[in-house]
Amino acid sequence: MKVQVLQENLQRGLGIVGRAVAARSTLPITANVLIMTDEGRLKLSATDLDISISTWIGAKIDEEGATTIPARLMTDFVAQLPPATVTIESDEEMRRSAKLTCARTESTVNTLSATDFPRLATIGDGPGISINPTDLRRAIDRVEFAAATDDSRPVITGVSVKGAEHMLTFAASDGFRLAVADIALDEKQSVAEFDLIVPARALREVGRLIGDSGAPVELRVNEEKTRVEFTLTDVELSAQLIQGSFPNYTQLIPTEWNTATEVPVGDFMRGARIAAIFARDGSGIVRLQVTPEDAAREDGQLLISARADEVGDNEGTIDVRVKGEAAKIAFNSRYLADVLGALDPEGSVRMETTSPSSQGVFRPVDESGKDDYVHVVMPMFVQW
């Protein structure tokens, strides 16, 4: 193989696939990046066997071929090169090395044969679901963090992705909180019902890959329902689906409440962050007390407080709109910060509560009445 690519294209490509390079693996080749010529372009791929990412970059192909190069070494090396043409030359049959030349720098690195690189199952070009990238990224950002991080129940380390007619529903829960986001599909698309569990990490990477891009993302699932593939412009991410059935979460979202409090997200976030400093002693308790407006006060009040033995305490008040009765509830400071961080800081959030020991429900307040996100957090049982 002999190809010429621009240093900046190569660096960007390596940055994209680098997220899928195995950090620790029993299969040494997964620490390498696969480089191969593909229909006039250069294709870079990496996989840690759970997630695979491929990207295509423009290149001048002098001789077709493929090789694999240690990803870390190549990335560090290319990052230091001047913005000029990089020539990659390898002779897989004769020797196990590749020559990288750029300007007046030349290096030779050991390679592993491309034929040993794990086959990345391609799902093909069958019909996929086309999703608006902004909607997809927002749904991922609002849901993915609520997935479990310990492996004791693999099913909930994933995000449930359900499709029906014109709607996709993403849901994640670590057993203490639950986040559910809907994505409305283009009216022209109607999908057959499906139900998948996608590793949270894969979705996190998809969100990152989307960035500010405006091009639609295609979602495809293989026939065996074992892999999912997201196709972006010049980038493909595929992941092993998690097998099993995701817990039925609809009954965990209460439909009734005793108190509904409407709070500006920015103020709430600031109050919660300050309280979190005082809740750092390990218990992480942030107490919320809601007082409805009365004859004396035009606005309702949300009191946010935290205290730590041997440290001190903190109290902050926010003017809010309250429907229903006075309420108190305590949350883990991280869970509170997580849900507020997932919302538009310029907007408002509606917090619905029933009792100090039952679910708190958070919904963004949308003037147009759109109801595409709900986040349920279990409170902390504390002595008041």
């Binding site: 310990d150 829960s173 057993g175 203490f176 909180r177 639950l178 965990l252 002693d281 390990g282 218990s283 308790i285 033995d309 305590a330 883990n332 020991s357 679910q359 349920v376 279990m378 409170p379 902390m380 049982f381 504390v382 002595q383």
Partner: protein, 389 residues
């Protein structure tokens, strides 16, 4: 009338005693524990070595010259620390008014504990017996009206003795002792007193106060007060806020049975949970402790994601640690088992989705029944074997 209430308890040649415990062949021989190396000094010398003039703070090299036949051993703090902790725990069983004066000594004020444990002398006897039985080494104790005299008394009682100074008899007890025995008298003051012909504490006490003040200033007054056995600093109680809560059980005969051990653990977990509930606290960490004969103590801890407060959770974590540790140790008979919690914090439990508060309500109800009617009022079936029923 009972004996006075202030105790000074001091472990005899502590480091040496611990070394002899694990190397019984050293018993009755000169042993020196200290820091090896060219500038090392003696930490503790056995009484046999002391007969050769070896004492603590002496350079190791000199100790070797004075007593070439002595076995010299390096200091093994982690090993002593276990026993030290156990020693202080025994003391705290009698009174919270317990002032730690070092790894191997402490003052206690047992005033008010008579109905529970007997007078100062009885408590001193009980403590000495328990230290002997549970750690395997000797403790000497002094019982007196104040810390100063109690300290001198325990020194006078060594080795392995008990000395009670009746109230009012302080000056008489101190009088015949050399001035050196009085805390605050170091070699220099001793020499200056000797210039005046004062060698016994009683001779100092007999000197006119004005003369001592003229000679030594304010220190002179203090010296005379002490020589008369008067001292008013109270026994300082340790911090009230507990940093951990635990329960342990020492078996009369080493216990080989898994079900008995687990049942004891279960009962301990219940008690720990109740102590926590009473203070409205919970814990981050569960600690399990096992001791195998003669004095090998192992602890393991686990810090779950959520804080623990309920007996079920403490037992679950404790039992898990126990099973793993006991397996590692070849399931040998256990001398002591204990479970506790550390890293205490205000009680707050992160609820799970779909969880109700029934477990908490049950624990609260059982706890209040036991507080009112005693431990036997409500009991788990799993605790039954612990009581042999």
């Amino acid at each position: 009338m009972g004996s006075p209430s202030v105790l000074h308890v001091d472990l005899d040649a502590f480091f040496v005693a611990m070394e002899v415990l694990r190397r019984p062949e050293l018993a009755g021989k000169p042993v020196v524990v200290g820091f090896t190396g060219p500038r090392g000094v003696v930490s503790t010398a056995s009484y046999e070595a002391r007969a050769f003039g070896v004492h603590s703070a002496l350079p190791m090299a000199r100790a070797r010259r004075l007593c070439p036949q002595a076995t010299c051993l390096p200091v093994d703090f982690p090993y002593y620390a276990e026993a030290s902790e156990r020693f202080h725990a025994i003391l705290r069983d009698y009174t919270p008014a317990c002032e730690r004066a070092g790894t191997d000594e402490a003052y206690l004020d047992v005033a008010g504990c008579e109905r529970l444990f007997g007078d100062g002398e009885a408590i001193a006897r009980a403590i000495r017996a328990r230290v002997r039985a549970e750690i395997g080494i000797a403790a000497s104790a002094g019982v007196a009206a104040n810390k100063l005299v109690a300290k001198v008394a325990s020194d006078a009682a060594k080795p392995d003795g008990l000395c009670v100074v009746p109230a009012g008899g302080e000056a008489a007890f101190l009088a015949p002792l050399p001035v050196r025995d009085l805390p605050m008298v170091g070699p220099r003051l001793e020499a200056r007193l000797a210039e005046l012909g004062l060698r016994a504490i009683g001779e100092v006490a007999a000197w006119p106060a004005a003369a001592l003040r003229a000679r030594f200033g304010r220190m002179g007054e203090e010296l005379r007060e002490r020589a008369l056995g008067r001292f008013d600093a109270p026994v300082l109680t340790e911090r009230a806020a507990a940093r951990s809560v635990s329960r342990e059980t020492t078996f009369g005969e080493d216990e080989p049975g898994r079900s008995r051990l687990r049942a004891v653990l279960r009962a301990q977990a219940e008690q720990v949970a109740r102590d926590l509930a009473r203070d409205g606290r919970a814990a981050r960490t569960v600690v399990l402790k096992l001791r195998f004969p003669p004095f090998q103590t192992l602890t393991r801890s686990h810090t779950p994601a959520r804080q623990v407060a309920l007996a079920d959770d403490i037992f679950a974590a404790g039992a898990d640690l126990f099973e793993r540790l006991w397996r590692e140790e070849g399931r040998r008979p256990v001398r002591l088992i204990g479970v506790g919690v550390a890293n205490l914090m205000p009680r707050a439990r992160q609820l799970r989705l779909g969880e109700t508060l029934e477990a908490d309500r049950l624990a609260e109800t059982v706890g209040s029944l036991r507080d009112r009617f005693g431990d036997g009022a409500v009991r788990r079936a799993a605790e039954m074997t612990a009581e042999g029923r």
